[in-house]
Amino acid sequence: MPDLLIELFSEEIPARMQGMARDTLRKMVTDGLVEAGLTYAHAQAFSTPRRLVLALEGLSAESPTLTEERKGPATTAPEKALEGFLRSTGLSRDQLEVRDDKKGQAYFATITRPGRKAPEIIAEVLEKTIRTFPWPKSMRWGSGSLKWVRPLHSILCILTDEAGHTVVPLDVDGIVAGDTTEGHRFMAPGRFAVTGFDDYAARLKAAKVVLDSAEREEIIWNGATTLAFARGLEIVEDRGLLTELGGLVEWPVPLMGEIAGEFLGLPPEVLRTSMKEHQKFFSVKNPKTGRIEGFVTVANRETADNGETILKGNLKVLSARLSDAKFFWEHDLRVVKSEGLLGMGAGLSHVTFHNKLGSQAARIERIAALAQVLAPLVGAAPDLAVQAARVVKSDLRSAMVGEFPELQGLMGSYYARAEGLPEAVADACKGHYSPLGPSDDVPDQPVTVAVALADKIDTLTGFWAIDEKPTGSKDPFALRRAALGVIRLVLTNGLRLKLGEVFAKANPATDAADLLSFFHDRLKVYLKDQNIRHDVIDAVLAMPGADDLALVARRAEALSAFLATEDGGNLIQGFKRANNILTQAEARDGVEYSYGADPKFAEAAEEAALFAALDAADAAIAPAMAAEDFPAAMGAMAALRAPIDAFFTAVQINSDNQLVRRNRLNLLSRIRQICLGVADLNRIDG
């Protein structure tokens, strides 16, 4: 059983794509080999910035011979049919067999597909893999038409067994597979041949390439923590950065540097952001003070001066960046001291938010007015909400946010504190953009919640009023995200808002009903992620109060839980049966059977029992719904399941006695009416 080694050697693969590429390479190649009839014992994929690698152990040397029998036309069939059969099987008439079939005699063909050697199959599968590899973005280079993530330089593809190794013959657009690879770009340039995976991994290591990304990450993490520990400091953990760094280097060498004293007064987020985003540095923290005092950078090589030049260069770049940041910070603090955060934002009147929606300053006034309206509904002091709303966007005019847009909000909170504004205002500065994504934290401080809602609702109603709604994949103003933000703020904080009224108040020119239906679509997507079915949400949205999202969500949760029970599923069947019979009868008779069912006309015991059960359910459901105790309402509805089933088993609706028939239809109507009072069960699938 030979082992297979594949290496696709290219120019630098983006770090963020390497994990996906490893998995995809393994899956595409192994799936292809297995489909062609080969088996293997073990598969492992690796990546470095310049190579994608797959190692298979215990691959079968060839695929098995397959025999297939195919039945042809009857011996009595016209000559044409036989000719067609011979063509499709590639056999001649004397190779066919005539055997008895159910309907007389027929021709039979035995087709043998000979097994194929592994190299032939591997070449086919690997070529297809290369040509159809689903990179997020791929490119052409030179004069060729082949696409890869960056120019592909060489293919190593060898089979190794006890007798030695052989190159799998393959030529993809002039790149001929071989048994050679390259080491580290700078530390060990030049090509060398390998005989198998173990030899490959060992020679790579000698050529200053650590093949396994997990091992590189371990070297980085251990090296970084050791460097920090030696000075009584610790690394600020950052899993994403560690993975990225592992994908940027073949021979990781962590180097630690100190941040100059003049920069230590900067907010830690500024230090971290600047170092991570621009330099891909780990931050190093003093555990006693919590301050960021140093950094670890990861070089891709060893040097004769032990990284001294590299560290010096990195320090210089960092100093230039942090000098800028310090300049911005001190400049902004001076502005806040002399003009306040409100004054810092004065220039927003010259910044256009959108040409049909006015300036940022005009928008801020709208947000403030809306925050004032919302404040009592979320438990915030209205004057504090207004004060906060007027300054939360001021930091957009700060020098720091001009340079580091990702620090918007956060800088506002620092400047608010520097000015001595209330903590609730500082918190609103930082938190009012949240939640940004589906996993972002949701604010819970009332003033922040009021401003966050006002901000998003102003944006949504504004763009709705000028008819700039998202279409298809186009959502340039991130309105879907804004709506999801409102939904999460409302649901997480259990807020009771009548959105229709809020929309009308925020912007009278908005088509509130249309915007609400956009919210309902977003809510469906959101609840679907919580495993609540589409039809369940539809059933709930058809009820009154659908502009109260917290109410809708609670109803949907209760209904979803109910439907998951055995009683729930069966009750739906009973409800639908009752409803179908009733609807047909109403159509035929041209009347609506809506009331007047009287227990005195009940003939069977099951019929009488249903009357009693409906009375009991009615008595329990109405108050439960009024109290918004949906689980209790659903529970009461569940109690109808047995009586309804028993009723349908024992009783024929159609009676010769018209009085009895009418009474039964009116009884069915009570089932419908009671169930529909809980949710629109007509919309439930199944």
Binding site: E11, E12, P14, A15, R16, P49, K137, S138, M139, R140, W141, G142, S143, G144, S145, V149, R150, P151, H153, F186, L248, V249, Q279, K280, F281, T297, A299, N300, R301, T303, A304, D305, T309, I310, K312, G313, N314, K316, V317, L318, A320, S323, H350, T352, F353, H354, N355
Partner: protein, 317 residues
């Protein structure tokens, strides 16, 4: 295709801004590039030079290197910021088809300007390039030296809405930043422009401080926006008009498609847009519309260029 590989011996450190430029010129000249001169128009980046934008189109092989003065009106800081300028220099290399050893050639150029790759950490970090105004995109990297971006490295995939066949490899060096790093200077204005031992020694500031001040004031306050808006419209109309001519020129009796004169108007419109942006008279939404208008011009010029001989048109076709 492969071009002679670079030597690996680290060169002695250069001493001035101009020496770095001269060394790049010598290096790329030795690698077979035509050393061109800057384009005589105001552009935002070296990519706008017709030697890149237009010559990356069509099948004809090309290899050029040049310095391009570049203007970014919004980056003006009155000569005070240590590394931000509204007028600066880019060094640009474009080779079509991209040679298979372009990365090695590039690293050789670093060696030529005194960056010893055995002591420094050179990294290729993903960077997808896109120019919305040129309707162009490509894939490549920003090249880091010890954590500092020293170049952009791009394989053009599309320019002016046309797929690039063959693909051009483009290298762009931000000369001031690169030179400051190599020369160990902290403020661009203090960088030696010519040899520090020359009888008349000139710093970058001696050459450019005053013009940085003047243009910063012009960009932010001086430029007449009403006039610029008119000129934008004029350039747009002129570009369209030039492309509307029939290919056959009655005077010379030749087939002459005025792709490059039209493209000049596209460059003009683009720069005027940048100025208007610096003057703060373009709103966020208008911005997109203006960019779209410049892109439309760039596309038309690209369409016209591929109908010229340099763009691959042949009389037989």
């Amino acid at each position: 295709m492969s071009i002679t590989a670079p030597s690996t011996a680290a060169s002695a450190a250069p001493r001035s801004f101009q020496e770095i430029i001269l060394r790049l010129m010598t290096y790329w000249s030795s690698k077979g590039c035509a050393v061109l001169q800057p384009y005589d128009m105001e552009v935002g980046a070296g990519t706008f030079h017709p030697a890149t934008t237009l010559r990356s189109l069509g099948p004809t092989p090309w290899a050029a290197a040049y310095v391009q003065p570049s203007r970014r009106p919004t980056d003006g800081r009155y000569g005070e910021n240590p590394n931000r300028l509204q007028h600066y220099y880019q060094y640009q290399v474009l080779i079509k088809p991209s040679p298979s050893n372009l990365q090695e050639l590039y690293l050789g150029s670093l060696d030529a300007i005194g960056i010893d790759t055995s002591l420094h950490d050179i990294r290729f970090v993903e960077d997808d390039w896109e120019s919305p105004t040129l309707g162009a995109w490509g894939l490549g990297w920003e090249v880091w030296c010890d954590g500092m971006e020293v170049s952009q490295f791009t394989y053009f995939q599309q320019v002016g809405g046309h797929d690039c066949h063959p693909v051009s490899g483009e290298l762009t060096y931000g000369l001031e930043r690169l030179a400051m790093y190599i020369l160990g200077v902290d403020h661009v204005m203090n960088m030696p422009y010519n040899d520090p031992d020359a009888p008349i020694h000139l710093s970058y500031g001696d050459v450019f401080r005053q013009s940085e001040e003047q243009y910063s004031r012009y960009n932010f306050d001086g430029a007449d926006t009403a006039m610029l808006l008119r000129h934008f419209e004029d350039a747009e109309a002129e570009c369209d008009r030039l492309l509307g001519f029939a290919p056959d020129d009655p005077n010379s009796g030749k087939r002459i498609v005025m792709a490059q004169p039209a493209y000049d108007q596209c460059i003009k419109a683009s720069h005027i847009f940048n100025l208007l942006d610096a003057r703060g008279v373009i709103s966020v939404t208008e911005r997109q519309a203006y960019i779209g208008r410049v892109r439309a011009l760039a596309k038309k010029c690209a369409d016209a260029f591929v109908l010229t001989e340099a763009g691959g048109w042949t009389p037989a076709a």
